[in-house]
Amino acid sequence: MTRRTVAGAWLVLLLAVLVSLRLHAQVGYDRLLDAAKEPRNWLLYSGGYFSNRYSQLTQITPANTKNLELSWMYQAAVAGAWQTTPLVVDGIMYLTQRPNDVVALDAKTGRVFWIYRHPPAVDQIVCCGANNRGLAILGDTLYMGTLDAHLVAIHAKSGRPLWKTKVAEAKAGYSLTLAPLAVKDKIIVGVGGGEYGIRGFVAAYDARSGNEVWRFYTIPAPGEPGGDSWKACPATSTAFCDPDAWKHGGGSVWVTGSYDPNLNLTYWGVGNAGPDWNNEQRPGDNLYTDSVVALDADTGRLKWHYQFTPNDRYDYDSVQVPVLADIVWRGAPLKAMIWANRNGNFYVLERETGRFLVGKPFVKVNWMDTFDERGRPHQTSQPPGMPTWPGNQGGTNWYSPSYSPHTGLFYIPAWEGYATIFGGTAVQYQEGRNFGGGVNRPFVPVPGAPAVPGTRRGPINNWTEAAASGAVLALDAASGELKWKFAMTDVTDSGILTTASDLLFTGGREGYFQALDARTGTLLWKTNLGAQIVSGPITYEAAGKQYVATIAGLSLCVFSLRD
């Protein structure tokens, strides 16, 4: 063995050690920043800080989707909409399951390493079931928000809790259902509870200690910037008006935000105002409900905001995932934020300043008709008893969209032909009690006909296309122009995944999991998983093999190409 070959052997050994160290290394902030460069892993809720739910993996292609087959399944025990997005780190999958468990399993076989169970609290109050949408990872630690409004840090190898921090008061209706976002040395979360008169906020916690570092209230107090958007009650009003409306103004934050490291801004979608449907008792625009807020990641200070639905009376939460994309807009590069809102409009905002560039309906919209130059909608409230499009659950909702830098298209799960007859009633705030204030009726074609169920369904679609139908819409990211549409008979709550081989994966309430050509919308492959899909698919690689994972009903189903 010559000196050169000995040196070469040492180098190979060193590289092997480095690679193996890398495989078992912690998920530092540097890895989160460059998550796109290690597509074998799925390190954040939406795949990366830009929240594109897009992967560089290309082993599965439009040509070979016909060879997809089920690799393994994992079954949960607690029924209900399983909304989580798993994380995958170096061959280990981490996911949450109802009510507040964390499971670590082998991403190749589905066999479980450990389960952490956060005990349900007796005083927790949630509007819509024991939902949890996933985890954040930083270093060797996983972070989960809980239904009783705590943030829990869990050791990724042992499954043991490291600390638990109380984020808010559970008995007042606060809860955490989103996947936290890890930025630098902080874990950022928001609170749910928009149906209980909470005062919403986004807060950052020190990843090591669990101590709160900053908090941004989505409802400003009187005297603070935006506080005057909660107007004083008129002296002569005959309708009930709440002089303390801001104290229980809602503004929940229950879907994970995004982050632009160059601007050091973190973006969060804010939920509905409270009470949901009676806007008369809270005059004013009601900032920052139904808005996106851009916060300094170090301090939580508000850099800008844009409000999609001022003085909302439709429950048009703006809790969609903020999708960040560097696009070409009118011939010039643009740092954009693209957004398909529950209120039925597609938006392009300039993400450094929040400047409004495009607003355009992607489904039928009749609660507004035009935008002014600053993007304020001109509202066209429908007469009592008349339907409003989109209906209460929106033209889309919290379901993850996808942006493919390869096609330049923005893909959204949409509800079409869906309307509600809205009505508000006065409601007095009482801690922990429902604060909806609504007398809404679904708009159905025949009196007494079934309406689209809000969150779940059985195996028979008896509301049919007459009440609403679903679609994947592919929009030009710069203009919102519809490029193609994949129509579904039933509505869809499924998120969307795209890959660099121009594949699109999505599910729906019917229980089909399907692969489409991301350029054309052509169906390439489908399988019937037998229960509704209400989460966003992911893809990852383990031992050289690409997998695609989705959840249908109680089953986590993982697919790969036949050997």
Binding site: W254, P384, G385, G438, V439, V446, P447, T464, T489, K526
Partner: protein
Amino acid sequence: MAAQIPGAAHPGEYAPADIAYGARLYDAQCTTCHGANGDGVGGVDLRSGKFRTAVTDQDLVRVITNGIQGTGMLAFKLDTAEMTGVVAYLRNMNTFDRGSMTPGDAARGRITFEGKGGCLRCHRVGAQGALVAPDLSDIGAIRSPASLQRSLTDPTSQMMPINRPVRAVTRDGTVINGRRLNEDTYTVQLLDDQERLVALTKADLREYTILTTSPMPAQKNMPPGELADLLAYLLSLKGR
């Protein structure tokens, strides 16, 4: 994320047949305490349209279903049609003209239904009749009186979308007509006109049409008395 509130208030849109049906139920079950004029309980005037513990129709449903603890207000177990009727009546007690009550005699209605009406040629009640049209065994519990009345004279207006007739033509030209039972993006399940359960894959079809017109003949020339009897019979069908 707030879920839809089902079956909420619908001010000013109560159908006469619902109100009439509700009046009958009120007379049978409520007058003992509340009296014929709705003022039998001290401090409660049902005709005023203002209720101490209920603002919306949903509130009324809740109070009737659960009762009010610590008072004489009992819990009542009513099916959907009955509840629709009682709420409609409570909302219209002040103006309701008892002379307009629609349902007639159920026994006479049954004779018409099984006899000259020819309803069993398509519909089924219990073990009798055909499967081509929807089974009516519990129709009096699941549809409101107003809807049943209109379904006799204007069937298309009351046809549930899931029951819409479908017509499919397969690649080889076979025509399949039937009543839809279920449908998704790729398939449709139906009961065909030979009373067979059929599942079709849309990709295998040359043509697939969902019709929005009901095949049921409208009873436009039936005397009002017979219609009222038929309605009464349909309302008596509560399933088992």
